[in-house]
């Protein structure tokens, strides 16, 4: 955002004919509008605030789509709906930092596989949002599981997979109506086996891990020239640089507007990538999957890089062989920003359990991780990584009223998301089954109707 404002200041003084730097703009703006809501007072819950605190018998007041107060014995404003949450738990909405929902829409036919633009190792020009099918039933499953925001990323076949987008898992006809207003864009990048295996297998570049790194550096050099051309044009005028969609995205990263989320399993590769980032002048916001991350906690902490992990995936590929279930707990204890991610619509319904499993693995290893701490892995930490910490991820006053009332401790397999609010609107209520599925795809299907 700073870069955008910086340009506006300079631009204001520039001649009116000057073409604006194109890449900070969003030609596909959000049309999301919060659903109607009433004021809500949630009474007497066990509250995990997302900041690491737990409050028992606590009240939470939501007004005009925002969190207004968290405290004891709050007074219900006139007209507010009061929800008795005695014995139940309340958390910020769950945030999935790594989803393919909408791009890998269910059912998984070849017609619906729009995750990887696997035609070139650099497809920084593609945007995940342009594959999104809002009718994917995974969105409604995510919402019913407490998810209130999710980042949809391109796949990991390409070194530069394209732009990711943050959505709200609401019932909608268009992608724009689901788009989180004003959320920063991300760039998906990938390490390791996937790019080199896919392209190497076709006799193309890259065929090795060293090829992967050469590809990153080559592309960043081009992006630096592109950005320098725009900088020069803004200062001195002349012919505007020729627009390039790939370089738009990479230059947006160099400007700090677009966040790098990188698929990377192995510690050795993460260390190399952090050097590339330093060399080329950008930040890696988060490594995803990162099954090896527990081997390099200091490096990750020093670079301020988050990791998004599964609770217990390991072994299914060589680069994932060293995954251990204590990964998240060890990193958290070492002061690294940890997140649980889904990468699948199945885990996308159980991110609370991913946190529960990872916390239990920590306890087993002697690391005490109470629920109020583990819940950060699926709330405030991903909010931070998405650049949305000023709006979501905690129950601080002023934050969006993205709230889940759980039937029990959300880290237990027996818990259900009873009520899910987005921007203060009750969008899922387990006690009131909807008249029909929210996904158009699931509408009117005989196989899911009760037999006559």
């Amino acid at each position: 955002m700073i870069a955008v404002l910086g340009w506006l200041v300079i631009g204001a003084a520039a001649p009116a004919t000057r073409v604006p730097r194109p890449y900070p703009s969003d030609p596909f703006p959000s049309t999301y509008r919060p659903a109607p809501s009433t004021d809500v007072l949630i009474r007497g819950a066990v509250v995990l605030d997302g900041l690491g605190h737990r409050f028992d018998d606590e009240d939470l007041l939501l007004q005009n789509g925002k969190v207004v107060a968290l405290g004891k014995r709050l007074v219900a404003p006139a007209g507010a709906q009061v929800i008795d949450a005695q014995g139940r738990w309340v958390t910020p909405g769950i945030i999935d930092v790594h989803s393919h929902d909408g791009d890998f829409a269910l059912p998984l036919t070849s017609d619906n596989t729009d995750t990887n633009e696997s035609t070139d190792w650099n497809t920084a020009n593609v945007w995940a949002e342009h594959s999104v099918q809002p009718m994917d039933p995974a969105f409604s499953r995510a919402l019913a599981s407490g998810v209130t925001a999710l980042q949809v990323l391109p796949g990991s076949v390409n070194l530069f997979g394209g732009r990711g987008v943050v959505l709200k898992p609401i019932s909608a006809v268009t992608m724009q109506a689901m788009k989180f207003p004003g959320a920063p864009y991300s760039l998906k990048m990938a390490c390791g086996e996937n790019p080199k295996f896919f392209y190497g297998g076709k006799g193309r570049f890259p065929a090795t891990r060293m090829g992967n790194v050469a590809g990153y550096r080559e592309a960043w050099l081009a992006a630096r020239r592109y950005k320098a051309d725009w900088d020069k044009y803004e200062r001195y005028g002349g012919e505007p640089p020729k627009r390039d969609l790939k370089l738009d995205t990479l230059a947006g990263v160099l400007d700090g507007d677009i966040r790098v989320h990188m698929h990377c399993y192995k510690a050795d590769e993460m260390a190399v990538v952090l050097d590339v980032a330093r060399e080329m002048g950008y930040r890696v916001t988060a490594f995803h999957h990162a099954t090896d991350a527990y081997k390099i906690p200091v490096l990750l902490r020093q670079s301020g890089t988050c990791v998004a992990v599964w609770a217990d995936w390991w072994g299914f590929k060589v680069e994932a062989e060293d995954g251990i279930p204590e990964n998240a707990a060890l990193l958290d204890a070492a002061g690294v920003c940890v997140m649980m991610h889904s990468d699948s619509p199945a885990i996308g319904q159980h991110l609370n359990l991913e946190a529960g499993k990872a916390a239990a693995a920590g306890r087993r290893a002697g690391l005490d991780i109470p629920p109020e701490r583990a819940i950060r892995w699926v709330t405030s930490n991903p909010a931070e990584a998405l650049g949305l910490a000023d709006r979501i991820g905690t129950l601080e006053p002023g934050k969006n009223a993205d709230v889940v009332i759980w039937s029990a401790n959300p880290l237990s397999v027996y818990s259900h998301a009873d009520q899910v609010f987005i921007d203060g609107a009750l969008l899922y209520d387990r006690s009131k089954p909807a008249a029909g599925p929210s996904s158009d795809f699931e509408l009117g299907r005989a196989a899911s109707e009760l037999p006559q």
Partner: protein, 430 residues
Amino acid sequence: MKKALVLATLAALLPCAPAHAETIAIVHAKAYTLTAAEPIEDATIVMREGRIESVVAHAPAPADARVVDATGRIVTPGLFNSATGVGLVEVSSTDDTVDQAVKASPLGAAFDVQYALNGNGEPVRQARAEGVARAIALPTGSGGAPFLGQGALIHLLPGMSILERPGAVMVVGIGGSASSGVGGSRSAAWQILRNALDESRAFKRPADGREATPRDQLLNHLDAEALQPVLSRQVPLLIQAERESDIRQAIRLMEDENVRVILCGGAEAWRAADALAAHHIPVILDPFADMPDSFDQLGARLDNAALLQRAGVLIAFALTDTFSSVYKTYNAGGVLREAAGLSVANGLPWIEALKALTLNPASIWGAAGHFGALAAGEDADVVIWEGDPLDVSGWPAAVFLAGQPVSLRTRQTALLDRYRSAASTPAPRP
């Protein structure tokens, strides 16, 4: 009585050599025997020479027994996972470590995974440390669709001898995604399957060494021989199918061919629950499967397990869903427990979910009375749990196979030990 062992140290114990097999008494257990609806509180479980000798409340331990104090923890039979790659897969993305399937091969129904089993595989050791006592090592593809091959019942004892029963099951894959192997229609899958049973019935092993019957047209001799135990009802057909139409075809096949059928997958099985119950067809299902992953699974729902159990269908759990594929080989115990817990969250009684991990698969695989319950004479495969075994917060505190403690050390614990100090470098906690 030997000195009581504090449970916390048990995990570090190396398993005893069989020659010195000790009698072990677990005392102060909350024992879910599964022979009764309620657990036995303060139970003493005596394990001698590989078998359970007794499970009795408040009983003293025998004088010659090593005593393990469970201090009130839940104790259950070892877990059973009915559909895994454990023993057949090391790294699933690396072909030369995967022995679950063949493609261009003369082996169809005859493909038998028993010769590939590797007791040293890390997924085996991991599953054992997660409390899995037994599993079906499942084939996933053969040279003769719709047959996927013959699965083996494995017993996860330490060492190389994990094969307990070869040819325990004949696996058949039916459905949209499986149809390419038979030319593109699931109808062809049913036709080829029925024909194979007919040809096998006509096939007689030539006792005098002469050529076999000329009926042998589509099926080769190996495959026809492999199907004989299916025809004689010694071995069940495991039919992997999700869609209601295929589930009802499986029921018809069972009626027409007089073979034993187990349904695996069964996303829409709840739609045929009464018919499945009436025909005593067990269902092996994945409680995670609640989405239309494919057009065969449009009716998938979270309470499938509860609806089937309520209708009287014998159910067992495995991680068969598209999105569970990693768990078939990795976390075959831990995530299986999570799946069972999820079924409880969606209406299945807790005790029924525990049965679907233990007693029910023993029944399905024809071993009721041998394992799957804590009762005198059963195999002493026993797990002491820290916390609730069906919740993600629980874990195995101690695992006994054939009456002896097994090591809970794995490659993962070795990595943890090597790196935990690196991770515990002091840092400010935000």
